[in-house]
Amino acid sequence: MTQVSMRVDGVSYTDEVEPRTLLVHHLREALGKVGTVVGCDTSNCGACTVHLDGQAVKSCTVFAVQADGAEVTTIEGIGSQGDLHPVQKAFHEMHGLQCGFCTPGMIMASIDLLKENPNPSETEVREGIEGNLCRCTGYQNIVRAVQQAAGEMSGSSDTLGAQA
């Protein structure tokens, strides 16, 4: 067993883990962060996406020991019931989900994309979230949601300016 410490959604944890423990299993099983899900066995689906030191990664393809000393943000740490993150709000409003299984990963990948490119074109959104698979929506509304969130996040001052 190896000792690991990490801050997850703003709270510090220190635990003993087996080196083979995947970060996603540590988050779900040891820390109860079950908002992050596992959708595949092949590092393809992106459902498990979290931010590791601010960058989107597939938490099923990182060992918990590699995250020792890191800051982890999961879908549970970006907003709250009454105060959703703009990307969460946009997925809700634009119907960017059906079964919802891909949604935690889609949202975490989208936030990462928007940080790098605050105003992505449709193609840039599709390429930006290519690491996330959705079996329900056909992606159309997911792309719309990301673009709506982009407008709200980067353009909020523009919108206010336009109204004034």
Partner: protein, 285 residues
């Protein structure tokens, strides 16, 4: 699935890493970004007894200018390579190819050195390293040696790296003169590996092609140079017709496999088409 249990070592220098690898015995595995290793461990296709994680070896990360060459640390991530100003200036072909690798999340963890050491025939970066005449700096128990890319890739998933050796950094000669570059990748779905891809660097001089370097991805168990096309382009007119004619020999000397994605003859066809496109774009035509 959950990987089989292993011992974990996390060195912070190349010397410590070499020692950890030596102590790890026969079943030791080096881990860089883990983006190829962890998936195969999850499927239990690999079950090393010890994993040596290079993630904290700071000296292996980053890009530096070394006169006529660029030196890229093996642990530099794909995402770092894509945004690095030195790479953009002196080795744009690497950045262009790296942008096509996997997806945003995988590029945040996967490394340049890991992709070369892994030596997957469908991997995008070996052919680029070969086209740019890169050199691999390898550290082992008896010191360091430098291996040209043309000798580094030996077979399917196999390099000249011996047991106990670590790929430390990659020296990429800067392109001097008026070069254009292009990476043309053919695949069918998001985050997919290349069915075939072509890396081209072309130097133009007075309306002619003075030099062309062409690397082929997935046209055999190792990356290959399209030597016949390179020779045909040497001194050729920089015209679409001349490029198209030269590209017809792109698959000469290759030995592509047949698999679920493509038959060998289709790959040969793709190599010609993609070579024409890549050289045309690199030559600015």
């Amino acid at each position: 699935m959950i990987p089989a249990a292993f011992e974990y070592a996390r060195p912070t220098s190349v010397d410590e890493a070499l020692q950890a690898v030596a102590e790890g015995g026969e079943d030791v595995k080096i881990m860089a970004g883990g983006q190829s290793l962890i998936p195969v461990m999850r499927l239990r296709l690999a079950a090393p007894s010890t994993v040596v994680d290079l993630g904290r070896v700071a000296e292996m990360r980053g890009v530096r200018d070394d006169g006529d060459a660029l030196v890229i640390g093996a642990m530099t991530t794909h995402a770092e390579v894509i945004t690095d100003p030195l790479v953009a200036q002196h080795a744009k072909l690497i950045a262009e190819a790296t942008e096509t690798v996997a997806d945003r999340q995988t590029r945040r963890r996967g490394t340049f050195g890991g992709a070369l050491a892994h030596a997957d025939p469908a991997g995008d970066l070996p052919a680029v390293a070969l086209a740019l005449d890169a050199e691999m700096v390898v550290a082992g128990p008896n010191g360091r040696r430098t291996v040209p890319a043309s000798e580094f890739f030996v077979d399917y998933l196999t390099t000249t790296l011996d047991e106990g050796e670590i790929l430390v950094e990659i020296r990429v000669p800067k392109l001097a003169g008026d070069w254009g570059v292009r990476y043309e990748k053919f695949n069918r779905v998001a985050q997919a590996w290349s069915i075939v891809a072509v890396a081209a660097a072309v130097r133009r001089e007075n309306g002619h092609i003075a030099e062309a370097r062409i690397g082929l991805t997935n046209m055999g168990p190792t990356p290959l140079r399209a030597s016949a096309t390179e020779a045909a382009l040497n001194g050729a007119a920089a015209s679409p017709d001349a490029v198209a004619a030269a590209a017809r020999s792109a698959a000469e000397g290759t030995s592509p496999s047949s698999d679920l994605n493509a038959q060998a003859d289709y790959r040969e066809h793709l190599a010609q088409v993609l070579t024409r496109r890549a050289v045309t774009a690199a030559a600015g035509l």
